[in-house]
């Protein structure tokens, strides 16, 4: 065990500010799935019983002797009390099929994403005319059966849970990094139109897509900032998957993704908010652009498909890197394999500063406990080779 001279909060802040740390901090992206299963509950039960599900996360934390930060404090959502924010969530969750609610998804499986068109190509016109909130309010009944009052009440409950989750970690001295979650406009439209239809939109009606993005981005920024004020957590998770090099050439990224990412990150930084950029899929070709984002105000969170070593090489003087123990390794690997993977990350990406060891995306529902513990222990026991 390394002799620790910093608190978890100091250690994580040092990593983010690119200052020296006593050891590499470790912060898994943890939701309720793996902890529920480990505790003998089904995922469906954990998801639908907030208190028990959240307690399962706390229990895993205690069982492995703790870690250094919660990227998100639990699995609630931080939302402003508005119909627009509730409908946005309905649109998002409408794509998911949940265990316990859908016979196609086993009770012990994680929620699964179904790619389908929730927005039509004609909707761009109305979004341009009314703005996102105006569109969401006008079309509420298309996306959710609930009344405006019920939606607002639900958003308030979600945010109250979020604040309770954050307070639980505060009492343990563990910082929560993100007080809101938001998608980039490209991620938003791609997932609501479906990948194939949205890609055809970019081919057939690119100007219209761009105007719609120009309209929604300011609303997304305002909603995220307002949510961080409610939760009192000075950070935002920016969810990114669809705009990177795995899917699109740089000419698409440069026009439809990066300007909006940049605008969002800069707006958050101007409010003193950290942005954790949650990158799913391979963004290696996009990494050089990240140097244009505000220095020491972002975290580049990778899922093991982007080249994390290249990210370190390019961004080491600019932003903290987080990641990227692969889900497959945690699920079917051995503790020795996990330890070897983490040691390499700590030695190369964690050298000097600017690294937070984490799971590559969410810890999978079927992670092996001993593999998960190996990740946490390696951070606590292994100093980077100097």
């Amino acid at each position: 065990m390394i002799q620790e001279t910093m608190t978890p909060r100091e250690r994580v802040e040092a990593a983010i500010k690119l200052e020296p740390y006593d050891r590499v901090p470790v912060a898994p992206l943890m939701d309720v799935m793996f902890p529920s299963r480990h505790k003998g509950m089904t995922v469906a039960h954990g998801l639908s019983h907030w208190r028990e599900g959240f307690q399962a996360i706390v229990d895993i934390f205690e069982k492995v002797g703790g870690w250094d930060a919660m990227i998100l404090p639990g699995y609630s959502l931080a939302l402003t009390p508005s119909v627009g924010s509730g409908v946005t969530v309905s649109l998002g969750s409408g794509r998911y099929r949940f265990p316990g609610q859908d016979s196609a998804v086993a009770v012990d499986s994680q929620p699964q994403y179904e790619e389908r068109e929730l927005l039509t190509v004609e909707d761009y016109d109305e979004i341009i005319k009314l703005g996102w909130s105006g569109f969401a309010e006008k079309n509420r009944e298309r996306f959710t059966p609930f009344s405006p009052e019920a939606i607002i009440s639900w958003t308030e409950r979600q945010t109250a849970h979020y604040i309770k989750e954050k307070q639980t970690w505060d009492t343990k001295g563990i910082p929560s990094l993100c007080g809101a979650i938001v998608e980039s406009p490209l991620m938003f439209f791609s997932t609501k139109r479906s990948l194939i239809s949205f890609t055809m939109d970019l081919h057939r009606v690119p100007d219209k897509v761009q105007v719609a993005m120009d309209i929604v981005v300011d609303e997304f920024i305002a909603e995220a900032i307002a949510a961080t004020r409610l939760t009192a957590i000075p950070g935002v998770m920016l969810v990114l998957e669809r705009g990177g090099g795995f899917y699109y050439p740089l000419k698409i990224f440069e026009r439809f993704e990066f300007p909006y990412m940049k605008k969002m990150v800069e707006a958050f930084a101007a409010e003193g908010l950290l942005t954790v950029m949650h990158f799913d899929q391979d963004w290696t070709v996009n990494l050089p652009y990240l140097k244009e984002l505000p220095k020491k105000m972002c975290v580049c969170e990778l899922d093991s498909t982007t080249d994390i070593f290249k990210a370190k090489e390019l961004l080491k003087d600019h932003m903290c890197i987080m990641g990227d123990v692969p889900a497959s390794l945690t699920s079917i690997g051995t503790p020795e394999e996990v330890e070897a993977y983490c040691k390499k990350l700590i030695d190369v990406v964690g050298k000097d500063t600017g690294f937070i060891l984490s799971s590559g995306c969410t810890v999978p529902a079927d992670a092996k406990f001993e593999n998960f513990k190996a990740m946490i222990d390696t951070a606590k026991n292994h100093l980077p080779i100097r």
Binding site: R97, A104, V105, A106, S109, Q110, Q112, Y113, E114, E115, S194, L195, I196, T199, M200, L202, H203, R204, G245, F246, Y247, Y248, P249, I252, D280, Q281, S304, T305, P326, A327, S328, L329, T330, S331, I332, G333, P364, A365, D366, A367
Partner: protein, 210 residues
């Protein structure tokens, strides 16, 4: 290269539509129109390999190809079977309902000249075996996006083995998080997280199986 193949390779949707219609009206043999479109898709594949094109161009070209085939295919008759380069059974494995990667692969495989028996999503091992037995297809493609899909893929390979088909069937797995470690765990012959590479793997299998 023909004008039609070039138009498809350049993703010129309107031009492809108009050229296909013009060839049909002029009485050009439907299979020859298909061949031209496939040549266009081959160019798309080459541009993808050389990194000039990305997944987005594979998607757009696949959609244009599908639209052209919707017009031409009903006129094909027996020609269709004669020109196929291979057959495969494809599906997203039990417990997983993700379809997007599988659907892109299915489109590209058809464009490459494969007969694809697409079983959809959440496909149980027995269903895969049943279709392999019924069709005699020598390639099995399994897709999955979540870690629990690894267990379903493994069970399916074991079911193929138990049915006495493993020696006759090549197995490829695909999905965003599959790795060499997963391939070994599952007992597959190949893995990929890249739809175009998946087509190349199956082309190679088709040659090996001849």
């Amino acid at each position: 290269m023909s004008e039609l193949a070039d138009a498809l390779a350049d993703l010129d949707e309107d031009k492809v539509r108009s050229l296909v219609r013009g060839r049909i009206d002029a009485g050009v043999a439907p299979m020859s129109i298909v061949d031209e479109c496939r040549k266009g898709m081959d160019i798309v594949g080459e541009r993808y390999k050389s990194k000039e094109y990305f997944l987005s161009e594979l998607i757009v070209s696949g959609e244009i190809f599908k639209e052209a085939m919707a017009v031409v295919e009903p006129m094909l008759g027996f020609d269709k079977q004669a020109k196929q380069i291979g057959r495969m059974v494809l599906g997203t494995v039990k417990g997983d309902i993700h379809n997007i990667g599988k659907d892109i692969v299915a489109t590209l495989m058809k464009a490459a000249g494969f007969e694809v028996y697409d079983l959809g999503i959440d496909v149980a091992p027995g269903k895969f075996v049943e279709k392999l037995t019924e069709t005699g297809a020598p390639i099995l493609g399994m897709s999955g996006l979540l870690t629990p899909s690894f267990g379903s893929m493994k069970e399916t390979v074991e079911a193929v083995q138990a049915a006495g088909l493993r020696d006759k069937v090549k197995v490829v797995i695909g999905g965003g998080i599959v790795t060499e470690q997963v391939r070994k765990y599952v007992g597959a012959d190949a893995f990929t997280d890249d739809a175009a590479e998946g087509v190349e793997i199956c082309r190679r299998f088709a040659v090996e199986l001849k």
